[in-house]
Amino acid sequence: MSWIISILASSIALAAPVLYGTLGEIYTERAGISNLGLEGVMLVGAISGYAMASATGNLLLAVVATISAGLALGLIYGFLTITLQANQIVSGLAMVIFGSGLSGVVGAPYAGIAPGVTFSKVSIPLLSEIPVLGPILFQQDVFIYALYILVPLSFYYIFKTKHGLRLRALGDDPAALDAAGINVTLLRYLYVMLGTAITAIGGVYISLVYTPFWNENLIAGKGWIAAALVIFASWNPIYAAGGAFLFGLIEVVGLRLQMMGVNVSPYFLSMLPYLCTILVLIFSTGSFSKRRSAAPAMLGKHYDREAR
């Protein structure tokens, strides 16, 4: 029993960074902008927080640095894709390359140096004593507790509030919003920046909580997996949580099998999350699946007033 609990608890820890990325991208894509640059945003988020934690020893400042870095990247991405109407797929790729270069340069002095401070696990009194569920859900760190709030809150915001309705309209029919006198450009900027800020937290989670150390390959495709999960989750935060947990589970099982010395090469086990992402994409978007695509209608298309 205890090993099941420990597997499920570590699945949550492995799911958390991916889920931050997925949640961020859900906001961005719901607003009609596709940002495939999650990998780059997470890398920059990871090193910003790490550098700040190493320099000041203050974890709160580290999170502030991460969020600021995320906002700054969002501003750049928004300027490119909203104001300058650049191709969003190539811009996303450019963000990945830019982010990996930037984090590599800034992070070079920190490679191999411990950050000094990390977020430790906090048991929630009473709740953590619930049998089975307590150790799985309530003996984690603050980032995971934040997700317990962020996921349902995002769901409620997107589907049940006036602002959420506007957000969905941004992606489905920005012209209608414009006609209603709402500033499409400003709103899109805000959601792109909100998206990158949330995504950046996923990066700092890996560098300051999960690992915790810095190296250039720290994110190792988690940003791309997060981007794939957005599609799998039908742009819905609740499904995203489920999908991310599934990926955490797959990764943990792979790691556990390696530790148990199963007669499968660790290199093949390491391929699992990536192969599963491919399978998930095929099964959730393949033409044979009965699911209706929930993609925002105007996703990835510029809104140009004069072109109408």
């Binding site: 300027f79 650049a86 963000m95 390359i97 340069v105 992070g107 090469s265």
Partner: protein, 357 residues
């Protein structure tokens, strides 16, 4: 007064040159400021980069050497982008090509000799092609977006490479590094000048072939049409799926040949970091070159110089990632700058202001 965007009727000649130059300057400035903030001397770094990449005949030849795999990968990427298929898996296709070439070179003793190199070339192409087609097959069969799938396959290919490099192909006798045995001479590409090998001819031939194909064949024309409007091409009776497989096979095959050039030309053995991000750099190059094969060669040469120059700035204690950052920033700037090739920014007086006057 307010800024106003106006569609350009025709692009003035000078903007074609000014916009890319400004983009490169922006990137240099951005990286310079970053270096300054980190306590380095940017001017010294840039000087070192130029000297390291072009300062002497030897350095220049090393830069050309660096650019060979970039050329091949970028040519491959550019043909897939031309038909609007986002093949961002060149890195994985490169790795598979290098892996297949190594397998032939070291573990097929029955063909050892003059047949080795031709077999390596064919198999590297085939391996890259298969990996690329695998990436686009879900799109053809079930309409699944290829972007993330081709990218995911990069990670799979890299673990596949690790499996062999750290496993049965590792040459434990030579060193404790995860490298394969060194290739015999019959499995190496001949050299032309210094270390520059004949792989550069493969790149040149590929560029000319691509140019002629798109310019003079009906298939080339159809692929261009598919790239611009897939629905119209389908309606016009073009076989979109066959063309897609063909283009992806060539795209991946070229990346595979880049892998071959690296193992059989430059390095002479298989190493886990054999690709070193060339597949990603290739995407930048293809985009900057506007998918024109001859521009691809030129931009690759420039990027080869940057990569080579990057080795020199390490002496100043600056991370080699600065080169990646520089290249990424150039791409971001160029993407943003495209707006100004399509539109002209003008200052307009508001109607109110005009009325007051």
């Amino acid at each position: 007064m307010r800024l106003k965007l106006e569609k350009r009727e025709k692009l003035p000649f000078y903007t074609k040159i000014i916009i890319p130059v400004v983009c490169v300057l922006i990137a240099l400035l951005f990286c310079g400021i970053l270096m300054k903030l980190m306590g380095h001397n940017p001017l010294e770094a840039y000087q070192k980069m130029v000297k390291g990449s072009m300062g002497s005949a030897r350095n220049l030849s090393e830069s050309v050497l660096q650019s060979i795999p970039l050329m091949l990968c970028a040519l491959g990427v550019s043909i897939s982008f031309k038909m609007s298929v986002n093949n961002i898996g060149a890195e994985g296709q490169y790795v598979m090509g290098a892996w297949a070439a190594t397998g032939i070179a070291l573990y097929c003793p029955w063909i050892a000799g003059e047949m080795t190199l031709p077999t390596m070339i064919v198999m590297a192409f085939v391996a890259g092609a298969i990996w690329a087609v695998v990436g686009v097959l879900p799109k053809i069969l079930w309409g699944v977006n290829e972007t993330i799938i081709t990218l995911m396959l990069n990670y799979v290919a890299l673990f596949w490479l690790d499996y062999w490099c750290y496993g049965s192909w590792r040459d434990t006798a030579a060193s404790n590094l995860p490298f394969s045995k060194s290739f015999d001479d019959f499995a190496r590409l001949g050299t032309l000048y210094q270390r520059v090998h004949v792989g550069i001819f493969i790149a040149l031939i590929a560029a000319v072939a691509i140019f002629l194909f798109f310019r003079y064949t009906s298939s080339g024309y159809q692929i261009r049409v598919i790239g611009i409007n897939r629905a119209a091409a389908n309606y016009g009776g073009m076989n979109v799926h066959t063309k897609m497989i063909l283009v992806m096979a060539c795209s991946g095959g070229l990346a595979g040949l880049a892998g071959l050039c690296q193992v059989a030309g430059t390095v002479g053995q298989l190493q886990p970091d054999i690709a070193g991000g060339a597949g990603y750099t290739a995407i930048i190059i293809a985009y900057l070159a506007k998918f024109n094969p001859f521009y691809v060669l030129l931009v690759s040469l420039l990027f080869g110089c940057m990569d080579q120059g990057g080795f020199s700035i390490q002496l100043l204690n600056i991370s080699i990632n600065l080169v990646t950052l520089l290249q990424g920033t150039i791409l971001l700037a160029v993407l943003g700058g495209e707006m100004f090739t399509r539109y002209r920014v003008t200052l307009r007086k508001d109607a109110k202001e005009v009325a007051v006057k």
